[in-house]
Amino acid sequence: MSALTPARPGSASSSSASGRGSTTTSASDGRPPRRGLTGLQRAFGRHPIGVLLALPYAVFLAAVFAYPVVLAAWMSVHDWFFSAPGVEVDHPFVGFENYRQVLTDPQVHQAFLNIAVFLVINVPLTVALALVLAVALNRAARGRTFFRVAFYVPYVTASVALVGVWLFLLGGDGVVNSLLGPLAPDPSWLVNSSLAMPSIAGFVAWKQLGFFVLLYLAALQNVSKDLYEAASMDGAGRVRQFFTVTVPGVRTTTALVVILATITGANLFTEPYLLTGGGGPDGASTSPVLLMYQLGIEQGNPDTASALGIVLVVLVGLLVLLNRRLLRSES
């Protein structure tokens, strides 16, 4: 079983080597089909019913996402704002002017740098903690229900609610600093320009962890027990088993977790908006989405906000593809 399938059909699974081929053939010869079944297959691929099954979702995507995204791309190369219905407004084409504005803005540079810091801390932390906790939970003899619920509670609670408590924990005279005593950082966590982003990365890891633990838990059920037995026979201890059996066994899920965590991180908004008062101190925790919100929604410039959004989407898209490549090539 391959760990991750590529975006294109054809190498999705071992049995599908001919999938792409038949599609391309029927597409390129373009003749009317001769017999019913083959015709359908020629038009829609080897499993025509797939079109039917995927159709509602495709329609949903087109109606709810394609429209705004295409509009965003359109806006990003025009001088655009949202006018009231019936108001005649000129939206001249401006080429890449909006992109130029966005890409030369030092605040934007800082925001992308901040996100890089966030991802470097948050993603490995998330993967490691989620896997360790899932394995521990899977082995727990008692109290599983309690622990599972405990891990999940932050995930189901709205960020707005948790932020209040975390401000209290990480504040200058908060609980964490009181525990650290003289070791407490000065300035404190959220107003320290080198600690603000790591603090947010930690908070987000903590908040999202429950969901990723659940993903790993489900994946652990698929790791064959025979493998553990075999490893055990070979004299491997728990720690060795973890690295030689568990880690490879949940690769698919690790890839999923990495990608989801990367995407969540790149779309960071609520936490800097609330936890560090709009990206403070002095922009040390601004994120691209926070800037988009300021530009597009607060300041009424959806055109430059869209340009920033498209840049972000492209960068994250590349990052996700890179992740997939890296994780696949390891197998």
């Binding site: 599609t23 391309t24 597409a27 390129s28 373009g30 087109a62 394609a66 429209y67 295409v70 509009l71 359109w74 704002f81 949202f82 006018s83 009231a84 219905p85 019936g86 108001v87 407004v89 939206h91 605040q107 209040g164 401000l167 209290f168 504040g171 200058g172 005279d173 300035p187 404190s188 959220l190 107003v191 320009s193 560090t276 008062g277 709009g278 990206g279 403070g280 101190p281 002095d282 922009g283 601004t286 300021q294 929604i297 607060e298 300041q299 009424g300 410039n301």
Partner: protein, 430 residues
């Protein structure tokens, strides 16, 4: 590949729908002579809702054919987003009793608001009710797209108990010059009366400057806006003075650089706060407080100090179908009687030419007395400039402020000079 060709076609079709949906179609602008049932938006502040519902009830009893329905939108920062989105979608109500003056230029640019001076008697109604102060709400094209409704003039409130603890005179505190406030602040903190002297939000949202920088700037400049005759004043002497004062407050740890969860003044973590008259009902019972005008560099007499108005106004969106009813209802709810009800029920200052004298009887009563200083101050308020790119301008100011004044990462002078250049650019771009 045909596959991508087909998806390309889908995308093109979607794009077509998108442009038609966003450019034209929808219902046209409403009818200035129209009469009929209308919907209005109130802020979700409890007292304001109660006031609004009384007004609606009284109106509906007299006008059964032009019934008004009230709905609530958030009082705080998200209301501008909601209004902006509703204008774009054509789903605005007929009156919005929660319009921030800083957002009006944006709504006007969207083509979303009716110029109220084009309604019958509109110009006179606004200028006579509000007086000279109304001019601050006139847009650059000469129209009134907002009715100046109520203000919350910002003043300095102080905790008498904590002042006494710090060895300061609680009945006659010396807080009129910057040096006075700094000296008092140092005493408050060094005596341990409170961990901080005054705790404005150090956060980076664009509107935060209205509650630390702008009131002091308005006072130091003798009542000028941030933009004077098209010239940005971000690095003017008044702005530099105000910034210098706050820089010292932060540098000496008299004001914390960190946001407080909750209300620092109510919790006794700060001995002073910058507040509007809403504070009377919030702190009234729990804190023994006094109130003074914001400080100035040289200590202007209290009856000459200006401050930021923190006003909320009423606007009439173009999508309203029955604009004549809306205009009548707007006048009905801003009459002398309706304003009296607003004042006595919410404590906010109706933007009338002379609030203190018009309602002198109430300010002399035990209920109204705590509000009297705010009514005096209401005569000298400064609004945010009514210019394009308003929100963006305030964000630039705020960014410079957090970097230099709050965190001291760069000199105040150069930070404000750079910000002034950016603001000037935003004022001049076509």
């Amino acid at each position: 590949m045909r596959t991508s060709a087909r998806w390309g076609a889908v995308a093109a079709a979607v794009l077509l729908t998108a442009t038609t949906a966003a450019c034209g179609g929808g219902q046209g602008p409403g009818n200035p002579q129209g009469r009929g049932p209308i919907t209005i938006w109130l802020s979700n502040n409890e007292q304001e809702v109660a006031w609004g519902e009384e007004q609606v009830k009284a109106w509906n009893a007299a006008h059964p054919d032009q019934r008004v329905t009230a709905q609530q939108i958030p009082a705080g920062k998200s209301s501008e987003e909601v209004i902006g989105a509703a204008i774009a979608a054509g789903t605005t109500p007929c009156l919005i009793y929660n319009t921030s003056p800083a957002a009006v230029p944006q709504f006007v640019k969207q083509g979303g608001l009716v110029p109220l001076d084009t309604m019958p008697g509109g110009e006179d109604y606004i200028t006579q009710r509000t007086g000279q102060a109304a001019e601050q709400y006139r847009s650059p094209d000469g129209h009134f797209y907002q009715l100046p409704w109520k203000s919350n003039p910002v003043m300095v409130i102080y905790n008498k108990t904590l002042f006494a603890k710090a060895g300061l005179d609680p009945e006659d505190p010396q807080l009129s010059t910057y040096d006075d406030v700094l000296a008092a602040s140092e005493k408050i903190v060094s005596s341990g009366a409170a961990p901080s002297a005054i705790w404005p939000s150090p956060a980076s949202q664009f509107f935060q400057s209205w509650f630390d920088m702008y009131p002091l700037y308005a006072a130091a400049s003798g009542g000028q806006q941030l933009v004077v005759d098209g010239e940005a004043q971000v690095d003017s002497q008044a702005a530099l003075d105000a910034a210098g004062f706050w820089r010292q407050m932060y540098a000496k740890d008299l004001s914390p650089k960190e946001a407080y969860t909750g209300d620092a003044f109510a919790d006794g973590k700060a001995a002073m706060a910058m507040v509007g008259p809403w504070a009377v009902s919030v702190y009234g019972k729990d804190v023994d407080w006094g109130v003074v005008p914001v400080p100035t560099p040289n200590g202007e007499p209290a009856d000459q100090v200006h401050t930021f108005s923190d006003a909320k106004n009423v606007s009439l969106p173009v999508a309203c179908q029955d604009q004549a009813t809306a205009w009548d209802f707007l006048q009905f709810t801003t009459s002398a009687d309706a304003d009296r009800a607003l004042l006595t029920e919410t404590g906010q200052m109706p933007m009338r030419a002379d609030v203190a004298r018009t309602y002198a009887d109430w300010f002399a009563s035990p209920d109204g007395a705590p509000y009297a200083p705010f009514a005096q101050q209401a005569a000298r308020t400064v609004e945010v400039p009514n210019v394009k790119n308003s929100v963006e301008i305030w964000q630039d100011v705020r960014n410079a402020w957090t970097g230099s004044v709050i965190f001291g990462k760069e000199p105040v002078d150069s930070a404000l000079r750079d910000a002034n250049g950016e603001v000037q650019h935003l004022l001049e771009v076509p």
